[in-house]
Symmetry: C2
Subunit: 332 residues, 2 copies
DNA sequence: CTGTTAGCGCTTTCAC
DNA sequence: GTGAAAGCGCTAACAG
């Protein structure tokens, strides 16, 4: 591999001049620029990014922490980020936190040790305080899907309250009055917000949603199935079940099928996230769109602003929308 | 961030000595080693990986090219690789080729420009010749899921012939005689091999599989649906449809449901890959396990051998296995 | 607009 | 077993 030195020799200019045409950050006369370009071409010169990083103290890479690498949800997020960063000529390093506080911290340290210029993190377990302190470090940090007090401008979030609200609203609009809800874990803010949204909508619309009509799951398929069983044991037969994510909706559908409950006629189902696998479900799942791909893109834009002084327009609060498919029956 | 220089000052030794205890590649007396370690501890010293790379001409990172970042299939592969590389303390860069020759090459160049010590690639479009020349470069390359003549030792592959064979064999063992097959595109070797496996099994077992009972798809869900329609138009009603991947199997199931064909009673289905979404299908899909996660791990081990002189035991030819679930009806 | 020069933080001969 | 010193390939003042 040829070096900047060889290019400068061949072009008959100094190292600095070559560096300038590479970085386009200082005026170089058209003539010399041309000479340099020809020399680079001839030698097949490619700048050594490592050396660039060391000298400039910038690695032109950003680190991304997701919970899992093999999930449709994080997949979309990664694609959104990669896309945007690639356009900006920056590299992306992905690491997985596996939903464990220790792994999350370890992965963040790993990314930091790689001299990332910025971090985009989707942390589920690490505390608000930890996140907060992270943003105080010298590398910029953007947080996805979590609103942390004091640093909201670093957070790209979804209005989960509204997500819950519109789901319940839609259910009622379709003539349902016997609602049930499977919530996510109560120690997660997004889960809580969705629940509050559902409750608020019911209240606003004059529909009763007793506490006993709410089950708490853990976002897993199994907890969706379990919820169905739980309602049946309680003797409650809702006409519609709203789930805090698609995974649980899928579990609920499976259980219902085992029990020969017809979906959507006897039991309608609403999911949340609009994960890609919803298309494999039968009937196709009506759900709340979680624009995680777009949020990833926005997080990327934000980090580009923070770490590389770009001036992208930022809006960091996203609104969910209903995705109407076939799992909700209309009662007239 | 403290540097190696500060550590050496504090420990009262030279730079070189500190470097030695970091890299454990030369003898250092217990005493001084201890001193250095204490100094590193006190300063919270972390080696600067960029500087290490520049000086040693090794980046301790490997690049991975997949077709898509947001796919369950590649997700598993990425997890397998990340896992193994992480254990080895190496970094992984992921890039997407999007099934386009231009993007594949561009992404490979991107990874190379990042000074990866090795590359693991899953290329669909680039030619054998290109792949071949790639392995001739100075960075080691491992190829996943494609057997390229002359460099088989660099390839981690699945026995696709056997995959097709056991699928057909299983179908026949379950009492089916009216088989049909939806193949993948004919310009892909793996697709061809699966087809040949199916044909061979039929022949060996004395079952007829006319050419008209074979449809050619493109691995997409839609082409699975289309295949069903095509068979019906031809007036052929198979008792079992073997698909060259799960995606097409899913499409076929959808179409069958629309046509009110009962699965598996009237039509059994076998998929291929055992992708994670198969659990969302109904009935749960009987399919051929494609151990892509394990293959990713193995590719990682191989690249560790090639790029870092590790001595992992390699077996680069994987065997598929049937995963029996509920989409095949047994005819006695 | 262009060249000179001093590092960036580390590894790696080569002596001792 | 340890230290001195020469780079790795590039950027970024600074001077002209």
């Amino acid at each position: 591999m040829s070096t900047i030195y060889e290019v400068s020799k061949l072009a008959g200019v100094s190292l600095a001049t070559v560096s300038r045409v590479i970085n386009k950050n200082a005026a170089v006369s058209e003539k010399t620029k041309e000479k340099v370009k020809i020399a680079m071409e001839q030698l097949g010169y490619r700048p050594n990014t490592i050396a660039q990083s060391l000298a400039s103290n910038r690695s032109n890479s950003i680190g991304v922490l997701v919970s899992q690498l093999d999930s449709p949800f994080f997949g979309e997020m990664m694609v959104g980020i990669e896309d945007e960063m690639r356009k900006a000529g920056k590299q992306v390093l992905f690491a997985a936190g596996h939903n464990l506080e220790s792994m999350e911290k370890e992965s963040i340290e790993f990314l930091q040790s790689r001299n990332c210029d910025g971090l985009i993190v989707h942390c589920e377990q690490a505390s608000d305080e930890y996140m907060h302190s992270l943003t105080k470090g010298k590398t910029s940090v953007v947080i996805v899907n979590r609103k942390i007090p004091m640093i909201e401008d670093r957070c790209v979030t979804l209005d989960n309250f509204k997500g819950g609200y519109i789901a319940a609203q839609y259910a009622v609009a379709q003539g349902h009055t016997q609602l049930a809800y499977v919530s996510g874990p109560h120690d997660k803010k997004d889960s809580l917000e969705r629940l509050q949204g559902v409750k608020a909508a019911c209240k606003d619309l004059g529909i009763e949603l007793e506490d006993s009509h709410i089950e708490t799951g853990d976002y897993s398929e199994k907890s969706g199935s379990d919820a169905i069983s739980a309602f049946i044991e309680k003797g409650y037969r809702p006409s519609i079940l709203i789930c805090a994510n698609d995974e649980m909706a899928s579990g609920a559908m499976k259980r219902a099928r085992e029990l020969e409950i017809d979906i959507p006629k006897e039991l309608s189902i609403i999911g949340y996230d609009n994960t890609s696998f919803t298309k494999y479900l039968h009937p196709e799942l009506t759900t709340v769109e979680n624009p995680i791909g777009k949020m990833g893109k926005m997080a990327a834009k934000l980090i580009l602003n923070l770490a590389y002084d770009q001036k992208n327009v930022i809006h960091n609060r996203f609104e969910p929308e209903m995705v109407i498919r076939n799992s909700v029956y209309r009662h007239d």
